[in-house]
Symmetry: C2
Subunit: 341 residues, 2 copies
């Protein structure tokens, strides 16, 4: 009685299943793991016993034996989970739900906290590490001699030997620009975000190159740099309309900026997209689909980045190591702010 109560509390072990089925633990193990050389009838008895005792194999004990824990650590630095959640979902998909479990740790941009998490994860014997940054500027490596594969996502590592996956912001710039050009827009302005961000410059580069190829010049000759806020969008758009009233398209550095721009345009009596088309980056659903009209925006495809990271870890585990900064294409999501209904 005490025995079964104990079992109920701590859960049945393989030994219990074996005893219940009247076989040895070795045989029970083979039966449960679908290995050859075990009599069908025996297998059935074992499976039945396991079912009856609601046996759940102790993955930790398995790990101790196999060396693989089936877990991955994800250390993130983006406070709101705006990046890390979709990246985690992508990784989960790629691993196969339940096959691999993911530890999520929020380091909150703090190196000390990051170190603590790193230590804890290595101690838990994760099979790999995914490091997610909050901006695409290169960052110092989390460790120079990690005993497991490390993949950097969104923010690449400064070290060339490390493996990183980042969104193609230059390509993102090209995507919006080509879209606007294809709609016949020629007076295109760019209200950018914070000039200290690499993403800002990459996007500008893509925009500029595409415009140049089409023989078109950016309205005002250069982007308007500011911050990633609606208020900046409002202010910049107001100034823009004064300095360059003929503008017929505005590329915004983020959806937040675009929201502000839309507001200013509405107040100025400019119709979107008829008079002026508006497009932006990030495709943050809550912002992009709430506005009127909804925003055409470039999606960074975080899920895809997560999938790439997961596959890279698998590959490294199988000995196929990789390195360098890999650029993942973005995706243009067209909505009402560039194409009327």
């Amino acid at each position: 009685m005490t025995q079964s109560a104990e079992q109920a509390r701590r859960g049945a072990r393989l030994k219990d299943v074996a005893e219940a089925a009247g076989v040895s633990v070795a045989t029970a193990s083979k039966a449960l793991n679908d290995r050859d050389d075990v009599h069908p009838a025996t297998r059935r008895r074992v499976l039945e016993a396991a079912e009856r005792l609601s046996f759940t194999p102790n993955a930790l004990a398995q790990t101790l034996h196999s060396g693989r824990s089936g877990t991955v650590g994800l250390i993130t630095h983006d406070l709101e989970g705006r990046f890390s959640i979709p990246i985690l979902m992508g990784a989960e998909d790629s691993f196969g739900a339940g096959k691999m479990s993911i530890f999520l740790c929020d380091a909150r941009g703090d190196a000390i906290r990051q170190m603590h998490h790193l230590q804890a994860l290595l101690s838990r014997r994760v099979d790999g590490l995914i490091i997610v940054g909050s901006r695409t500027d290169p960052r110092p490596p989390v460790a120079t001699d990690a005993p497991v594969p490390v993949v950097y996502v969104y923010a690449p590592s400064e070290r060339a030997e490390d493996l990183s996956f980042v969104p193609d912001n230059v390509g993102a710039g090209r995507l919006v620009t080509e879209h606007l050009l294809s709609l016949g827009r020629r007076k295109i302005a760019h209200i950018a975000g914070d000039t200290s961000y690499a993403a800002t410059h990459d996007r500008v580069e893509g925009i500029r190159a595409t415009l140049a190829e089409a023989g078109v010049q950016l309205v005002g000759e250069k982007p308007w740099y500011g911050s990633w806020s609606e208020s900046w969008g409002r202010a910049a758009a107001a100034s823009l309309l004064t300095s360059d009233p003929a503008v017929d398209a505005i590329i915004c550095g983020s959806d937040q900026i675009a929201r502000g721009v839309l507001e200013s345009l509405r107040e100025a009596g400019r119709r979107v997209p008829d008079d002026i088309a508006v497009a932006s980056f990030d495709n943050w659903e809550i912002l992009a689909t709430g506005s009127r009209p909804q925003l055409t925006s470039v999606d960074m495809r975080f899920e895809a980045l997560g999938q790439r990271a997961a596959r890279a870890i698998f590959a490294a585990l199988e000995g196929r190591e990789d390195s360098g900064v890999h650029v993942e294409p973005c995706r243009l999501v067209v909505r009402g702010s560039t194409i009327g209904s």
Copy 2:
């Protein structure tokens, strides 16, 4: 040589440290774990050896022995991580960074996927489970006989024996209403969200009760029910201004709705907060601080919910079980939409 290469790959074990320090594993273990009865000099030698070999204790092996894994599973159903990330951060804080690691699994509202994750987590021998729902309506329990403590957050379990933590939406309704009344507003309307949500009704209840106590009646007698969208906010506000032009305050069911309301008010030429004060629920930063004026909103305090959940799991692990639905107070964040600058 092959030996040390092997060590480098798999990481140093306690045995290696012991050998390097010239002691037995038992002594090494004691030294590293600050146990008594080990000579200071010996301890120093061991610690030094551990440092030199960059020894990281295998937490899995420790678990196998102690029965405690130092991990918790967090199964979430909110796609965007809007709830789960702050809840996870709260839990991390409460546990102490690095002390406890959290598996984050996204079940995406799918029961099958939830089952898979549950199985995987139990197999990994998590010490507890946190289940996060996407709405405050009671939900079926994730399991009726889990071998570890389970805590439901945001969405409470239907079973009375289970333990749940939810935000005090009735109190949230009271908070905004009291705030508006204290500002002298008496013609208060409520543009609510989706009527199928428990949160909607709880908030209405709090609003109604507070108004009744002040002898004030809701403008239009009842709330305007709709959806959690900006477009609903725009439409409802427009109608409201027509049917009840004397309204001097609007409580919105969510920040999204409030954004739509603000837009309509601006178009109608009503000044906020001078003519009409606007307040809402959720305090979703990106929405609440981007608008002009910024939104006064009730914060659901997800971090606090996460902390409560973590502490409850600790308590249960120590034998102090608890049950029932625990209601956590919300917090009013006052901004420009109710109080002019």
